[in-house]
């Protein structure tokens, strides 16, 4: 979230789409209700199903799963056509005025692709996706295929009239997303779409800048083969309306798991290092080459400034290497650059399983992660695990992954005794049995305490990892082996190495001084060994260590900041600066400089976040300014300090995205019709599919119904099927379908139906409801169904034989988003039959 949970209470308008917060984040959703109650705010709910969020919304639109970009593009078009835009914000805080390379072409002009498409390789040469300006040429001697840099000084037109400026391109691009086109693609009747567009953009009616709107989404947007671009479209809309950085505004991802934000920050993912640092590639010959590639250079109109905070990348990275390798990371050995594995291809989730399926991945450690159930394409994952040599599962309940060898699929195939995989199942600790911090969706780090002892023979998860690692290290110590250096030199200086106390780990993550440090400006001193107060102190000379730069400040000399419990909120705006600790630097709303006009005065004086204090010549406020504290407004430094341009990106240049600088509507991989904008280029052109036996794709001829998966408020993923309370609330899996469709098929509520996709089948009872209606997609009657996915083959109801022991992900496919590599769980094709 750019903002936070409590901050939602400050909004006037909510577009809730690709998410169902009333069901999946009920306690956070209270702040949406508070906004309704106290500000007469409105909720627009756009969803394939009428959900419990829709039940309290002021306007509901039933959208075809996967057509979100068409809807949002239509809203952008509406906002521009009706001048419902934040002009001053747009010109000064976004790249709307930036001129774009003449060679850049929009998909409207080039058969559904942007300029630079290689139809053979399904990739883009992105060199034309750049701003215009001096210095935007590929430097001599660069590697073949290297992208040009952004121009140091960008050509611009503050009147926004230049036909090649971002705003004009945006306008042209989305002028194709007419209300009629939106209706044909999304199935939302034109009148209803216009009502939604009018309602949402009404906050900018007659040039008003006081009101604020927020966009709230969840995995209903990410689970697509163009998921990142849906979110981009929303971000662009928010920039267009001047809603980013403002209390009650922003683009708010509601994350689904207690510490999914922390796991992302911590880089439990192949393509990043802690704090969103870029991983080294084999092409990075040494540390400096890596830093040169990873560090952006600023690019903005000449009279403007850009802080370009990522120019500090090397400080963050050296400090990380010092945290990982301590004294073994020196300037002489390139900060142990060789210790890091180099990454130059896609190792993401579906590739991981595909590699295991192909016999390349021999062993897997799965902790708190039910990979078989989570899918996509459960059957493929089961088939992949059959080929693994070993699997280690750390869990608190019996799960589908650890028991893949006795899944219904394996039992039906009868090849259990041929499965050579050795499976270890280790009993782990429940949340109440361990302490440590979670980072919530609002980036708040909150410490929790141990309440009960471990039951039975369970061990702490981090203890198990430590014990395994230390045993491996012992083996390398004793026996030697391939490149043991990173293993032997990894810092593990915890007071109890077998069970590292988590507060010590948090201290390491926060970072400490390795030598005496002094801030030249304030003369503040930090002694060697002391905890750092924040990431501003990080150095790239090896005198600081920090496990994750964005968490620097979480555990300072003042103690564990994540355990702070001061509930006060002096501004009344839900900032709560003394509760826990928020990254970065305890800021609660990101980009909050944008809550002020160019002169540094709040857009809405009744919702003051930060502002320029002319007397102290500083940015001050109710929140920590997300800005260079002493940069006066007249310097025109951009508020989006993490972007090299300093401004919000309506046009995302160069390598930012794999599939285009503007989002274009593409059909889901399995879709009932060809893209109405460009039928020849129907789906996301850079998405590729696996071609294994288990990777089958269906067409509308065989699978005429659109299917989407979802969560219920009564259950949590594949966890609460072990909890008798939640099982009582919703005891059985079901399939939600339109009453009209059920009538046509002769299905009555409660009867068993079989849903099949090209990959697999799923049997559950029908929930026949008026909450889903038939839709006219390009004039053709189309149905959608929804499947809640909380069941499997191990659980209370499952073990009692009350379910078909199917997993919803037996139906889903493995095509992924090219940017985030997230699979397309939503909006695939199925057929439905009465059992």
């Amino acid at each position: 979230m750019t903002n936070g949970w409590v901050d939602i209470k400050n909004t006037d308008m909510m577009l809730i789409m690709g998410g169902n917060p009333a069901e999946n984040h009920p306690c956070g959703f209270k702040w949406a209700i508070e906004a309704k109650r106290n500000r007469n705010a409105k909720i627009i709910s756009v969803d394939p199903r009428f959900t419990r969020t829709s039940a309290v919304a002021d306007l509901f639109c039933q959208i075809r799963a996967g057509s979100d970009i068409a809807f949002l593009g239509g809203v952008i078009n509406y906002a521009i056509e009706n001048n419902r835009i934040a002009h001053e914000y747009l010109v000064n805080f976004t790249n709307a005025a930036f001129a774009v390379n003449n060679a850049f072409k929009l998909p409207g002009d080039t058969d559904g692709v942007f300029s630079g498409f290689d139809a053979g390789k399904f990739t883009y040469d992105r060199s034309t996706w750049n701003y215009a300006g001096p210095g935007a040429a590929v430097p001599a001697g660069a590697a073949p295929g290297a992208l040009p840099p952004m121009p140091a000084n960008v050509d611009y037109d503050l009147t926004l009239q230049n036909p090649n400026c971002v705003f004009q391109l945006l306008k042209k691009h989305y002028s194709r997303y007419t209300p009629e086109m939106v209706e044909r693609i999304t199935g939302i009747p034109k009148a209803q779409f216009l009502k939604a567009a009018d309602t949402y953009t009404s906050i900018r009616k007659d040039g008003d800048m006081k009101q604020v709107g927020t966009v709230i989404y969840a995995v209903g947007w990410t689970h697509h083969s163009f998921g990142t671009q849906i979110i981009r479209t929303a971000a662009m809309l928010q920039l267009l309306l001047g809603n980013v950085g403002r209390a009650g505004g922003g683009v708010n991802a509601l994350r689904g798991h207690s510490n999914i934000q922390g796991a992302t920050d911590m880089a439990g993912l192949y393509d990043t290092l802690p704090g969103y640092l870029k991983v080294p590639t084999p092409a990075d010959a040494n540390f400096d080459a890596w830093m040169k590639r990873a560090t952006p250079t600023s690019s903005q109109p000449a009279p403007w400034q850009s802080w370009n905070y990522y120019s500090n990348t090397s400080k963050f990275t050296v400090s990380l290497m010092k945290a990982f390798y301590g004294d073994a990371a020196t300037k002489q050995n390139d900060w142990a650059f060789d210790y890091l594995p180099k990454v130059d291809r896609d190792y993401s989730w579906t590739y991981l399983w595909n590699d295991m399926y192909d016999g390349k991945v021999k062993g897997m450690l799965a902790f708190g992660m039910n990979g078989v159930a989570i899918g996509p394409d459960t059957n493929k994952n089961i088939d992949a695990l059959k080929k693994a040599e070993w699997l280690v599962v750390g869990e608190i309940y019996p799960d589908e992954t650890s028991e893949f060898w006795r899944s219904p699929r394996v039992l039906a195939q009868g090849d259990q005794n041929q499965i050579q995989t050795t499976v270890y199942r280790l009993p782990c600790a429940g949340f109440a049995e361990k302490d440590g911090s979670f980072s919530n969706s609002a980036r708040w780090l909150l410490w929790k305490n141990t309440a009960v002892p471990l039951p039975g023979d369970c061990r702490l998860d981090h203890g198990i990892v430590a014990q395994i690692f230390l045993k491996v290290r012992e083996l390398y110590n004793k026996e030697g082996g391939k490149f043991p250096d990173p293993i032997l030199n990894l810092t593990w200086a915890y007071s109890e190495p077998q069970n590292p106390p988590l507060f010590e780990v948090l201290k390491e993550m926060n970072g400490k001084a390795l030598a005496d440090l002094e801030d030249p400006a304030t003369k503040q001193q930090i002694k060697a060994g002391q905890q750092l107060p924040g990431f501003a102190w990080l150095k790239d000379d090896g005198t600081t260590s920090c496990g994750i730069w964005i968490y620097s400040g979480a555990y300072t000399e003042a103690g564990n900041q994540t355990a702070r419990r001061d509930p006060s909120d002096p501004s009344g705006m839900g900032v709560h600066p003394g509760w826990g600790w928020s990254w970065p630097a305890n800021r609660r709303v990101l980009y909050n400089r944008a809550s002020c006009d160019v002169a540094g005065k709040p857009w809405d004086p009744s919702r003051k976040q930060v502002w320029w204090n002319e007397d102290s010549k500083k940015w001050v406020g109710n929140d920590v300014p997300d800005f260079k504290a002493d940069s006066p407004p007249k310097d025109h430094m951009g508020p989006f300090i993490m972007n090299a341009e300093g401004v919000g990106r309506i046009f995302a240049p160069l390598s930012a995205f794999a599939d285009g600088p503007f989002p274009e509507f593409y059909e889901p991989i399995e879709s009932p019709l060809a893209n109405l904008l460009h039928p020849e280029r129907s789906t996301n052109p850079v998405v590729t599919k696996f071609k294994d036996t288990d990777d089958k794709f269906g067409t509308v001829k065989d699978f005429p119904i659109i299917c989407t998966t979802f969560r219920l408020t009564e259950h949590y993923h594949y966890w609460t099927k072990n909890n008798p309370m939640n099982v009582q609330l919703v005891p059985e899996p079901f399939i939600e379908m339109a009453a009209e469709m059920a009538d046509e098929m002769g299905i009555r509520g409660g009867e068993k139906v079989k849903v099949s996709s090209a990959r697999g089948e799923y049997i559950a009872k029908a929930m026949v409801t008026k909450r889903i209606k038939s839709m006219l997609i390009d004039g053709k009657k189309t149905y959608q169904i929804g499947i809640p996915f909380h069941w499997g083959y191990r659980g209370i109801a499952e073990d009692e034989g009350k379910t078909a022991r199917d997993l919803a992900n037996q139906l889903t496919h493995t095509a992924t988003d090219p940017n985030a590599h997230t699979p397309e769980f939503k909006g695939f094709l199925v057929k439905v039959e009465k059992v």
């Binding site: 984040h25 993401s348 070993w390 650890s402 969706s441 490149f483 968490y551 949590y716």
Partner: protein, 193 residues
Amino acid sequence: METNRRDFLKIAAVGGAAAAVFGFDVKPAYAEMAQLKIARASETRSTCPYCAVGCGTIIYTLGDKAKNVTAQVVHVEGDPDHPTNRGTLCPKGSSLAQDILNDRRLLKPQVRRPGGSQWEDISWENALNEIAARIKKTRDDSFIEKDAAGRTVNRTEAISWIGGCTDTNEFNYLVVKAMRALGVVHLENQARV
């Protein structure tokens, strides 16, 4: 508060006397209220492990944390001080007591051997030794120091880690640290899906 508040009515003499002869307790119990079950339980502040709202919870446990007590959950309730949830909890958070005290919990290490159809018990020591040996062997067998172009890559593509998203930041940090040190690149997480 006492459990029984029976110190009130004197029942009609005849009935009372007659009933007393037969040994019946004749006095109705008026306002027999349940005791506040958390009145003296220990409070521990925690965070709900489910979604990313990160609601503050208070776990009430048996006993006062004295040495001779094995704390067990009595009740779980929202933390009213927590700015986000202000004491509220959803149906999942409200049922956390059933998650903490749940008879489906895994309580001992187990192994399924190749071709096996059942779980077998295994000691922690043996399990960890076997796992460490397998990790080392797989790593040594598959470690790539240089790629086809001769560039240093120092990675193994044969070991994978998949992690859930309900464990702590500190756990994740230790995992990333250890896995990167092993050269693991198939490092993925619920955060992806």
